[in-house]
Symmetry: C2
Subunit: 498 residues, 2 copies
């Protein structure tokens, strides 16, 4: 039964157990592994590699599409298997190892990793480990629920291990659109002109000679855990819908808007869910990850087409969509992340990018990655790819958290991932600030008025007005710019004593 | 004689004096004016508008390509004629007004202004003032030494004033390549596949009915003042050449490299001049401004072709090239700045971007705009367009200045214009750090070792090692992050007391 998924007979003799395949990895190897926002990752071999590291010396560099599923990153970190990790992670154990300097982490724009691999050779990729739903008659890979960086990894790798995951129905074949981009000066135009433009083939073309092992698994993707929208995320969603409705009313957008992108997580999912009950029609997505909300929008008839690099959904959503896959198949494309997140396509299509922030400041700079300026949370992911080149770049976060001890709008962000130059709209549960075409002092007053929680408005106005008196295009009191962060650290709250 | 430059007879009766044309501007108007890095700006009408403001109330919003020439920005600012200015300036008087909050300034990516004008309508452009070398038989504009944002300004403007500058020879007709990009969702592919790909027409198509005045001038462009390379800029240039030679030797680039971009100013010009005596051949440029160094490279036979949005050269260079224009005409193209600075093209061609920094930090974040975190210098210009999407993104600055009282490498930049995610190479007179694929702590050690002046290495290592002990992916001592800047402000030097 399993073998019928391999239409290239020469691979049959390369079938191994995950344990045996894991033994092919050597100390100091550089691995390129499939997996993007938990979807389509290695669930057989890489966990066994992590286990090996529990009782022998293994220091690996692991490149992925984005985050991996289950406890793979945790186990790799816990057993000391990681020398370096990139371009993204979202695991609490690995995060701790990164912040303790046990693991080197390179936090990269998700659209940029393939570019880096083409331009430098310090990451040569010893072994690629790629999840597949099946193998074509030419020995090529049909990926599962993500494409990520798998095309560039298999291209650059000396050897390839393929994991065939029979949990995915073979019927997903056809949803992938794979195009390999040549290195400059031979880089071609990426001719995507609409979300649904197909430019490639539905498989990853590889050199079959590189394949050193095939393993089978039937472990499903780690399910996404998404809590229901709460009052804050609902308020954020409403503010965004209201803003977009105004853009339509005033003739700047049509009721089908422009292709939507939404980051991963509860807030982004809630925002997108909100479109179900909106006045918009015939929506499209050009995004990096499709969450439950995408399928809700399909079911509600609001969404026509969605392009991304992965499908990351809850268990119930996964069961529903993969059992009725014909219903969605013509409405989806999964692309390599250097195409889903390509500056060229994002700008051409005019993507409306909606991403979440850890904090933003009164001038519109955004911190997406670091807690208190030093500790990595997850990583920048694709937010910069979309924010920098999108038609409208929106960042959202709650105005306050921890019972008001933290304000997510601060005098100066403790780490800058997106600069004032790249941000159009900032939104919290309190309201929305449209900072397009505004000078810094105009931005500050609008953001304080519209986005900041009332319990912090006075304190933030006071900072701004004092700074304003000191002068400067972007007024700051440099020795107090991080005083809210240090006050939080020392006193457990950003609220200064009255 | 002058009139022979107007091949569209209906314009002849609209010829006016600059003084009369200046009277067509009304209080609160939004002006879109030609001019990019001093080249091709309004030299007749806008200075008269500035004069008017000396004795009557005029509060204008002025959008340009980039900086204007002579004292135009200074006079506008001095006479209180500016309500808002964007997307770039480089004038000491205007800078002062911006930092004093007398003028609102929107510091924008130069590639983004046209996008903004298409997506919002708060800047509707009342009058466009555009310098031309001549008028075609259909009433269209042949620009002079820059294209900048003139196509979008004339498209969006209600009325147009044209300045015909007879100082430029009519023979420059043909060097412009103008393509107007449609608003999304109808945005087309920008089919530039090499620096020399022509995609448009050599004139700006306008509606002749909008033209309300034509004036004549023969004032040349403000000459660029470029001091000779000094020891520091020569050292920087040599480090960059050595790095690129290594890339060629190790097979990552060919001896014609990839298209070069260089920012404006002494350092960038000196760096590019250095290529004259390099081992590279058949170079090309895909840049925003062409300085003297470009023509030196043409003359030395090193450079095959250069695409940009303007020609900004010294007086002697200007005389030389415009008197021998046939020699250069086939080797040049001037494009609108949303194409010269287009993310799509920059990434496709694989541009090597070389820009200057005010300061950078131990993790590779770059400040291009603000002195001491608050005071605007010039603006981000096109540096972000190229840095974000280039093949290799290089930032250069001297290691120290003011007799060593300032270190240009600091613990944390006081303003972030380019994040750690977008920078590949940092270079000073001391040396070069290739930070591609490195984690923050690896970057910090390399930057301190290679780029920092010996007189600051100890102090910066001490900061980093203390921060490292506190932990975190990006180690910082948050309440000391700007201590070098505040020490400079309070004690006139960044050197702490021993």
């Amino acid at each position: 039964m399993q073998r019928k998924r391999i239409k290239y007979p020469a691979y049959l003799e390369r079938i191994q157990t995950p344990e045996a395949a894991a033994l092919l990895i050597k100390n100091h190897d550089i691995l390129g592994v499939s997996g993007f926002t938990k979807a389509g990752d290695s669930k057989a071999v890489l966990p066994k590699v992590a286990q090996r590291a529990g009782h022998e010396e293994l220091k690996l560099t692991v490149l992925s599409g984005a985050s991996l599923g289950y406890d793979t990153d945790a186990d790799l970190a816990k057993n000391g298997a990681l020398y370096k990790r990139m371009p993204f992670q979202a695991d609490p154990t690995l995060r701790k190892s990164i912040n303790n300097h046990e693991v080197l982490y390179v936090d990269q724009h998700l659209g940029q990793t393939a570019e880096m691999l083409q331009s430098i050779d310090s990451f040569k990729i010893d072994i690629a480990i790629i999840e597949a739903v099946s193998i074509t008659k030419d020995g090529y890979i049909i990926p599962t629920s993500s494409v990520g960086n798998s095309p560039i990894f298999t291209e650059k790798a000396d050897r390839i291990i393929i994991e065939i995951n029979t949990k995915f129905p073979e019927s997903i074949e056809g949803i992938h659109d794979i195009k390999f981009l040549k290195k400059q000066p031979n880089r071609e135009i990426i001719p995507v002109v609409q979300s649904d433009t197909r430019i490639g083939v539905p498989y990853i073309k590889i050199d079959p000679e590189k394949v050193i092992a095939i393993v089978f698994t039937e472990v499903p993707d780690s399910p996404a855990i998404i809590s229901d929208p709460d009052e804050k995320t609902k308020a954020i969603s409403n503010h965004i819908l209201k803003f977009l409705e105004k853009e339509v009313d005033e003739g700047r957008l049509t009721e089908s808007l422009l292709p939507l992108q939404a980051g991963i997580g509860k807030t982004a999912n809630a925002i997108l869910s909100g479109f179900k009950n909106s006045t918009f029609k015939n929506l499209t997505m050009y995004s990096e990850v499709l969450q439950d909300s995408t399928f809700e929008l399909f079911d509600s008839g609001k969404l026509l087409f969605a392009s991304a690099s992965s499908i990351t959904v809850t268990e119930s959503c996964s069961n529903r969509i993969f059992q009725n896959f014909e219903k969605y198949k013509d409405k989806l494309l999964l692309r390599p992340q250097n195409i889903s997140n390509s500056a060229e396509v994002i700008r051409r299509l005019g993507v409306i990018g909606i991403n979440t922030a850890i904090e933003f400041d009164i001038y519109g700079n955004v911190n997406s990655t670091h807690i208190g300026g030093t500790n990595m949370m997850n990583g920048i992911g694709g937010s910069g790819d979309f924010a920098r080149n999108g038609y409208i770049s929106i960042f959202a976060c709650p105005s306050i958290s921890k019972e008001g001890r933290i304000s997510h709008i601060v005098p100066m962000v403790s780490h800058t991932d997106h600069t004032e130059h790249d941000i159009d709209i900032l939104v919290t549960d309190q309201g929305l600030a449209d900072i397009r075409g505004l000078a810094p002092v105009e931005r500050a007053r609008l953001i304080i008025e519209n986005c900041v929680h009332p319990s912090y408005q006075g304190q933030l106005s006071e900072y701004f007005e004092k700074a304003y008196k000191l002068g400067g295009h972007t007024p700051h009191i440099m020795d107090k710019a991080f005083s809210w962060h240090t006050h939080l650290k020392n006193h457990g709250t950003m609220k200064m004593a009255e």
